[in-house]
Amino acid sequence: MRTPLRPLARILKARETGENPDMIEAENRARRHAATQDKARSRAEGRLLLLGLMFFCAFVVIGGRMGTLASSVPEEPRAAAEGNPIIGQRADIVDRNGRLLSTNLDTFSLYAHPRQMVDPAHTAAQLAAIFPEMDADRLLADFTGERRFLWLRRQMSPEQMQAVHDIGSPGLLFGPREMRLYPNGSLAAHILGGTRYGREGVSSAEVIGVAGVERQFDPFLRDPANEGAPLQLSIDLSIQAATERVLAGGMALMNAKGATAVLMDIHSGEIIAMASLPDFDPNSRPQVAVTGDQSDSPLFNRAVQGVYELGSVFKIFTIAQAMELGLVTADTIIDTTSPLAWGSFRIRDFRNYGPQNSVTNVIVKSSNVGTARIAMQIGAERQRDFLGQLGLLQATPVELIEAPTGAPLLPRNWSEISTMTISYGHGLSSSPLHLAAAYAAMVNGGTKVEPTLLRNTDPQPGPRVISAAVSQSVVDMLRTTVTEGTASMGDVAGYAVGGKTGTADKPRAAGGGYYDDKVISTFAAVFPASDPQYVLITTLDEPVETSGTEPRRTAGWTAVPVAAEIIRRTAPLLGLRPQMDMGDPDSVTLTAN
């Protein structure tokens, strides 16, 4: 009930006693004010309490959530995950038509917990019976020793796994493994390279590339963002297989200790086939040789890493440059008197080709003297620039991890005598792949080509090296070399092969001159000459052809027939139609009756 500020009874009483009645009002007003204040305070306190409680709850919830997040195993937000989370494997490698070159296979590894074994002796004996490479005594020593954990096998077949399972030992355990499989065996072994296991755990192991494209494209192959998209190479499986088969046969026939073939598209620089023999099986990659000559190891990729003095195949670069500079034409007569003396140095031809020859004949007959004379007109500076433009002075940019090791060997001092010897392919060592790219530039109309192992559907012409007219003359000279010159065995009916042979003596490993009876024979072919599409470089290491009365080692007798057979086998597979000379149609005879 509201108390009046001036209660009449008290006022009257105050008036009677002579007190000031206003004091009563003031007193009452103060009391009312205090009551109002008390009420407001208690309400504010209640609100503060409620607010504090809410803050407390909020902090408890947030703190609790943070605690759970920190202490729980991380989990991907499944509802928000986009794309396909399944494909986390190393990507496949396929050829230009999508056929598998390399893929993965699920298998299992075997490891042991010796402490959990009931009967170690029995387990060791049984394991040794299943896996021939294991030794029962050594296993038993491991199982009964201090070790708590032991790897036994990295991978095994399902049959072996079942056999291990049947032993029934609780201490033998399996871990899932991914195995890299090369279904075609040794096919394109040097290109693919191989893989090994990286960090290994019980439940998984990473597969990492060790050589070839497996190593070069390791980040791409392992990137889950590609969602399993395969790596497509420019290699054609069938053509690679045919090339390797013919090359292996040729190598055996010619008693060579190694052989290489590179087949390249001259416009795009795509390598259609690249073989190096002897080869290996990337499924069980051999160990790197620690002693002896690395170039004798099957792991050595002769096509990319093997830098050799390739001999007369280089002559065409000298001639093409001289024609491009306007120094000579195909019909210019060159002095080819052999020997050509330069100080104490004498340059000789294989046999004497007479005192004078046309430029075409210098190529067709492969005259060192004629080429050296033309090189003297060009000069060292211009020759080096030109070979540099063709990419013969740096390692090839091909997508192999080994590519930088195939850097050409150049003379320390590019003197005039170096210019003369390099003009016919001595004094400068390069790989067959270098030669393939340089020949492609010579015959594709004159633009530079960079070799690639990746499928390239939209090739762009590189910078111009020689004019289209010179390129055409080069093709004509190469064709004449096959029809009339040193490479007469290289003609393949229907495919108008053009090419240049090269036979170079091998330099002695210990230095000091060249071997007399060891050569590198090379044939650089281009086909079809009417509309060049492909170049094929075939190189044999130390070939000897022994069907005649005396051993023959020149490229015309060794590399050329092998290359011709490769072209005969692969050109139809490349979809090239043979241009058969059908002759004139039978004449029509008019007869009267």
């Binding site: 499944r78 509802a79 396909n84 989370p85 399944i86 494909i87 494997q89 056929r99 598998l100 893929t103 993965n104 296979l105 699920d106 499989l181 279904p183 075609n184 065996g185 096919l187 499986l237 069938s238 297989a241 045919a242 088969r245 393949v492 009916a493 229907g494 495919y495 005969r568 086998r569 050109a571 139809p572 597979l573 139609r577 043979p578 058969m580 059908m582």
Partner: protein
């Protein structure tokens, strides 16, 4: 009016809570199903991978070449040679079909074919 609004708001809260509860459980069951499907896809992918590897292994050029050699008598398969290409004019034109005889003419010895006794 104010009382109605309070009741209405309370009902709306209950209804939306019920809806959210249901949606939550539908989502969780869908996620569970998706997880199952992913695991099925994974298994199918593994199987497919194995089959592709096996296919590639069975079709490796070495084996095909050996098979072609082995069955040469039966199949006569050769590697593709330049001679396998032909010219269009090497193919003969199709022989025109014989036109049907619409008005046959009887000749004297026709009857012999009918097996009638000439006598």
């Amino acid at each position: 009016m104010r009382g109605f609004l309070y009741v209405f708001a309370a009902m709306a809260v209950i209804a939306s809570a019920f809806w959210a509860y249901q949606e939550n459980y539908t989502t969780q069951s869908a996620l569970c199903e998706v997880r199952g499907l992913y695991s099925d896809i994974g298994a199918a992918h593994d199987r497919l991978q194995m089959l592709r590897a096996e296919w590639a292994y069975l079709n490796r050029p070495d084996r095909l070449a050996d098979l072609a050699d082995l069955n040469f008598d039966r199949l006569g398969l050769l590697s593709l040679q330049p001679e396998a290409f032909g010219q269009v004019d090497q193919i003969i034109y199709p022989i025109p079909p014989i036109l049907p005889i619409t008005d046959p003419i009887e000749i004297s010895n026709d009857t012999l074919d009918l097996g009638e006794d000439p006598l």
